[in-house]
Amino acid sequence: MMVQEPIIALDHVSKSFGRGDKVVRAAHDITFALHPSRTVALVGESGSGKTTCARLVMREHQPDSGRILFRGRDLSDTGAVGLKEYRRAVQMIFQDPFASLNPAHTVDFILRRPLTLGQPHLKGRAVDETIADLLRRVELDPGAVVHKHPHELSGGQRQRINIARTLAMGAQVIVADEPTSMLDVSVRLGVLNLLNEMKRDLGVALLYITHDLATARYIAEDILVMYAGQIVEWGDVHQVLTNPQHAYTRLLLSAVPDPGIRFDDPGARLDPRAVDVIRREARLLQDRVVEIGPNHFTRQAA
């Protein structure tokens, strides 16, 4: 299906924390790839290992085993990929739009720094104009926000500044970890649409992390469903969501709020004991990969 080379590929990557009987298998045998102009959604409940995967991609964690490739080059080969080059190309957007912006700096400063570092040939007026372009790109009025500090902006505006900053850095990959979960419902969609445009118009590869299947379906081509450190099902987002194979994917789908189904519909009831069984079994190691279709896979206990 994908002929284009991935920008980033995780190849059987694992990461655990702690030791002895306290060891947490945060990410086990993770394999996926990020391609230009494509979005991969990583979905799962809290504690399933999503942020660990993000931090592995960000090189904030070292894999215990497996390889991470950047444009085909193995990150663990010393000198193969400079940290500086990588940090510029691979950018993260966090859940809390406030935490990641320095409160002492103006929007102008926040964008100017990465621009002049990344594109040293830009000087004077050209920098001002690029900043204004970036702000318009994220649908903010440059005149109205450029001299403001983060606390003078709404959550949605701050998240737009974060996106503008990743673009100022020249990001080729954006890892967005629950970027809308702290925003008001009415501005969430705008931020999602903006990420979508970055992908479509600028060729960015997007890893979109969420616990919300509906937004995953809205924004992504591919989906990874994660539970207890393992990706239990993955592939084309519509295939996975319309023909789910893993019991945990089915459970997750059946629990998504759906105004078409009332809790008192007899068919809607989740049996708590059945839920416990699904959880317990999905926690087991599932080392057998089963191909459902050309771009649709699931895992089973061997």
């Binding site: 419902v185 009415s186 649409n193 616990h211 809205y218 629990a255 105004p259 078409g260 009332r262």
Partner: protein, 273 residues
């Protein structure tokens, strides 16, 4: 619906008093909740939902000031209750579950002691009597009663939230106010908890005021829904009306503002422009 509603909020207007000017958080809001009914208040953050929830429990404090209106519970105005009547009202008549309630359990007390606190104070129960009641309540929310000897930190967030709900229902209140009770939880846990409350309100007959910003969830759970916008209740109707025949532009806009699992995923891109 019965002749006298369990709760009748009438023309409620609440300001937050400021040094320079007052901020009207709730503006002339009226709604009724019938006995056994689940009524939902939906709207974006800041629209005044929690301010109303606090006022119903008489938990509002300065700078909040009720400018106007009545909050009738079984026909009597909650705003007129003296201290003694208020003690009788809270927990017995109305109990409240907050979004962060799971963090409101006392971390140094075993779960059974938290039940006993309430039951001793309000019912004069012995420890043995409280333990028996706690076991009964924990079973209702699918928590093994033997775990009442554990401390809050030994439970997951979802289990702690269930314990809070069990404590709230201990004195058999007629109305449970739930202010975003599951917003911090995962969808499967959220579904398990709300489904249980739905069963319980049918078997035990209490009413629920359910507050959330998730309109889809609200339609699944509530009998009737009110939509709030900047302190105003702009529309109310049955869940079916709010879902299939929303009247107010803002309600329609709310529906268009989040993706669903079904239907045309690209509808929204156009709607949000």
């Amino acid at each position: 619906m019965t002749a006298t509603p369990l709760l009748s909020v009438q023309n409620l207007t609440i300001d937050y008093i400021g040094a320079k000017f007052d901020f009207r958080a709730v503006d002339d809001v009226s709604f009724d909740i019938a006995s056994g009914e689940v009524f939902g208040l939906a709207g974006e953050s800041g629209c005044g939902k929690s301010t109303i929830a606090y006022a119903i429990n008489r938990l509002h404090k300065p700078p909040a000031l009720i400018r106007q209106g009545r909050i009738l519970f079984e026909g009597k105005d909650v705003l007129d209750l003296d201290d003694k009547a208020l003690r009788e009202f809270r927990w017995h008549k109305v109990a409240m579950v907050f979004q962060s309630a799971m963090n409101s359990l006392n971390p140094v007390l075993r779960v059974e002691a938290q039940f006993h606190d309430l039951l001793k104070r309000h019912r004069g129960y012995s420890k043995a009597q409280s333990r028996e009641r706690a076991a009964e309540m924990l079973r209702l929310v699918d928590i093994p009663p033997e775990r009442m000897r554990d401390y809050p930190h030994q439970f997951s967030g979802g289990m702690r939230q269930r314990i809070v709900i069990a404590i709230c229902m201990t004195l058999d209140p007629k109305l449970v106010v739930m202010d975003e009770p599951t917003t911090a939880l995962d969808v499967v846990v959220q579904r398990e908890i709300l489904q249980r409350i739905d069963e319980l309100r049918r078997s035990r007959g209490f009413s629920v005021l359910f507050i959330t910003h998730d309109l889809g969830l609200m339609v699944q759970f509530c009998d009737r829904i009110g939509i709030m916008l900047r302190g105003n209740l702009v529309e109310q109707g049955t869940s079916d009306q709010i879902y299939h025949r929303p009247q107010h532009d803002y309600t329609k806009q709310l529906w268009a503002s989040f993706p669903s699992l079904h239907g045309d995923p690209f509808r929204l891109e156009r709607a949000s422009r």
